[in-house]
Amino acid sequence: MSTAALSGGPLSGAKGPWGRLRTGTVGGLVRAISSNRKATAGLVILVVFCFLAAFPGVVAHDNPQAEIFAPALGPSAAHLLGTDAYGQDLFAQLIYSTRESLLIALVAGLLATVLSVIVGVTAAYIGGLVDNVLSLVTDIFLVIPAFPLIVVIAAYSKNGGDPILIAVLVVTGWSYGARQLRVQALSIRDRDFLVAARLRGERRWRVIVSEMLPTMTSLIVAIFLGTTLYAIVAAAGLQFVGLGNPDTLSWGTMLYWAQNNEALQAGSPLWAIMPGVCIAMLGAAFALLNYAFDEVSNPALRPVRKRRK
């Protein structure tokens, strides 16, 4: 007869982690973010870092690479974080490093997500042997521990610099998302609207791009956030052990030099602490956004306000 006044009924549980994102598009998304404290916090942090990456000179006045100051100074008005063992201003280094760290993470995250989508959706859509092969490859890459693999690859290509770093992150980061996307693509592949599209004679790739992908947006966004988080931490780890290009300006390399000069024991703890704090904060921003995103797409996870009688 007619539709239920309460969609889904009061007693149906939230089914599945990727429930329908309220398709009020941008307006709905903005409202969802601003009403969720975690999302707002994450977004604010992210915006601050983006600003610092784009306009570092606004906040830091010294040349980060100029070794002109007295080494190993403590924090003071002139040098907010002090100087390192080479006489460089730490605060300037920290701020200027934002750009590279953020860029590496975003580019690696984006590329890995794109690769995930391609592999996962293709495997689900085409099925059969292609699916079996792609799934096997995905699972293998998923299981092989990422960091050791990264270390091995980076060891052979020591002077590759950032492009190698990004490539390595992508190679190790795509499989997680591909698996999830494949599962979701499989579940919607045989839905009526896709069958209808096929019957209309639409070309395969068009069906995938214009019909399937839009329904999978919330999962894709979540995977992007998660993969970027992974890239941030993995990149930092690689640079920390010296497998990135140690002459570049990023938080991970700062940590490398700090560790090399035994900053902790030598009385310049801020040199080791602050880059780590930045990495952690950027990572936390993405983690918060991811967590909040979970809550937006699955109302059952939202904070419960208990009503007292």
């Binding site: 549980g13 939230a14 089914k15 599945g16 982690p17 975690k38 096997l136 699972d139 293998i140 998923l142 299981v143 092989i144 521990p145 990422a146 960091f147 050791p148 693999l149 270390v151 091995v152 690859i153 980076a154 060891a155 052979y156 290509s157 020591k158 997680y176 988080l229 992974y230 931490v233 993995a234 930092a236 780890g237 920390f240 052990v241 010296g242 497998l243 940590l255 560790q259 902790l264 024991q265 703890p269 080791a272 602490i273 780590g276 704090v277 952690a280 990572g283 936390a284 993405f286 983690a287 918060l288 967590y291 979970d294 699955n298 059952a300 996870l301 904070p303 419960v304 306000r305 208990k306």
Partner: protein, 327 residues
């Protein structure tokens, strides 16, 4: 049975992939980096060992790539991993087997602990929605789990070792000691393992709490949980046997998947604390361009992860009757 065979087949496939990566990588890089490494062996080791390395890295070898490949596979599968540069003249196998127990002890124990504790906390948090556990812990853990492992390791080191001098600065045991099965030594080992262990525990527990909590929340809205309430079962029984047992299933698969991350974190933690496990050895090998050791460690780490995954698969089969008949 089919399921078991499939999983074993996957094990073999991954192992093969790992070996092939080891074989192909040095040959892919411009100007095979192994050449420089091999030069350092010249004149220092006998023909057999030298040949094995040449086959593995394709240096000074007139054989075709395919023959080299099978030669390499044969050598590896029979345990001839080569000689280590870093710990010359020890064979790689000795280095690896001396480092393994340290890592298994540290990482293995803490990971299992984190999984169990995290799952229980997550279960309790979901059971009492809106309570302290539910509102405080999840966001807290989200933030903590975003911290790189090594950062917490550095902080821990700074706070407890450098500043407070409560715990040792690094290594597996004090270098004034000799390894022996005495209480003193054991105590020494434990005190050195405490800080790295805590770091791994704290960083990895968050993920379990969160995923278990989310799974549990979904499970609690299922009809069979309502049915269990309708039958008058005690809350404890419902939480464990009905909700918990179903909610944990995705986590078990997740545990296997996340081992890769745990291992990665552990490597860095070992590095920071100079803890003599496989992670530390791996990075030492990289620094010394000791590719034979590096490759073998990579292989063993992968195998360890695979074994853990297989174990998890069997646990899942035991807990979920639907998995037993899945093809």
């Amino acid at each position: 049975m089919r399921y078991v065979l499939r999983r074993l087949g996957f094990f073999v496939a991954t192992l093969w992939a790992c070996l092939t990566i080891n074989f192909v990588l040095p040959r892919l890089m411009p100007g095979n980096p192994a050449i420089a490494m091999m030069a350092r062996f010249k004149g220092r080791i006998n023909g057999q060992a030298l040949k094995a390395l040449e086959v593995a890295f394709g240096v000074n070898n007139n054989q075709s790539a395919i023959r080299q490949y099978f030669g390499y596979l044969g050598n590896t599968l029979t345990g001839h991993f080569g000689t280590s540069l870093t710990f010359f003249p020890d064979p790689v196998s000795r280095v690896v087997f001396s480092a393994l127990p340290w890592t298994i002890g540290l990482v293995g124990v803490t990971t299992v602990l984190a999984f169990i504790a995290g799952t229980l906390v997550g279960m309790a948090a979901a059971w009492r929605r809106g309570g302290v556990l539910d509102s405080v812990l999840p966001p807290l853990f989200v933030i903590i789990s975003a911290f790189p492992y090594f950062f917490l390791a550095l902080m821990g080191l700074l706070l407890f070792s450098v500043t407070l001098h409560w715990l040792p600065l690094g290594f597996g045991y004090a270098n004034t000691d000799t390894p022996a099965l005495t209480w003193h030594f054991i105590g020494d080992v434990l005190s050195h393992a405490l800080l790295p262990g805590m770091v791994i525990l704290i960083t990895s527990i968050g993920g379990w709490v969160l995923t278990m909590r989310n799974n549990m929340i979904s499970t609690l809205s299922e009809d069979y949980v309502r049915m269990a309430r309708a039958k008058g079962l005690s809350p404890a029984r419902i939480m464990f046997a009905y909700a918990g047992r179903n909610a944990i299933l995705p986590n078990l698969t997740g545990f296997a998947m996340s081992l890769g991350f745990v291992v990665s974190g552990a490597i860095l933690v070992e590095y920071v604390f100079s803890y003599p496990g496989v992670g530390y050895m791996l990075l030492a090998a990289v620094e010394n361009e000791d590719y034979a050791l590096m490759q073998t460690l990579f292989l063993f780490i992968t195998v360890a992860v695979l074994i853990a995954i297989l174990v998890m698969d069997f646990v899942t089969m035991a807990l979920d009757p639907r998995a037993r008949t899945q093809s």
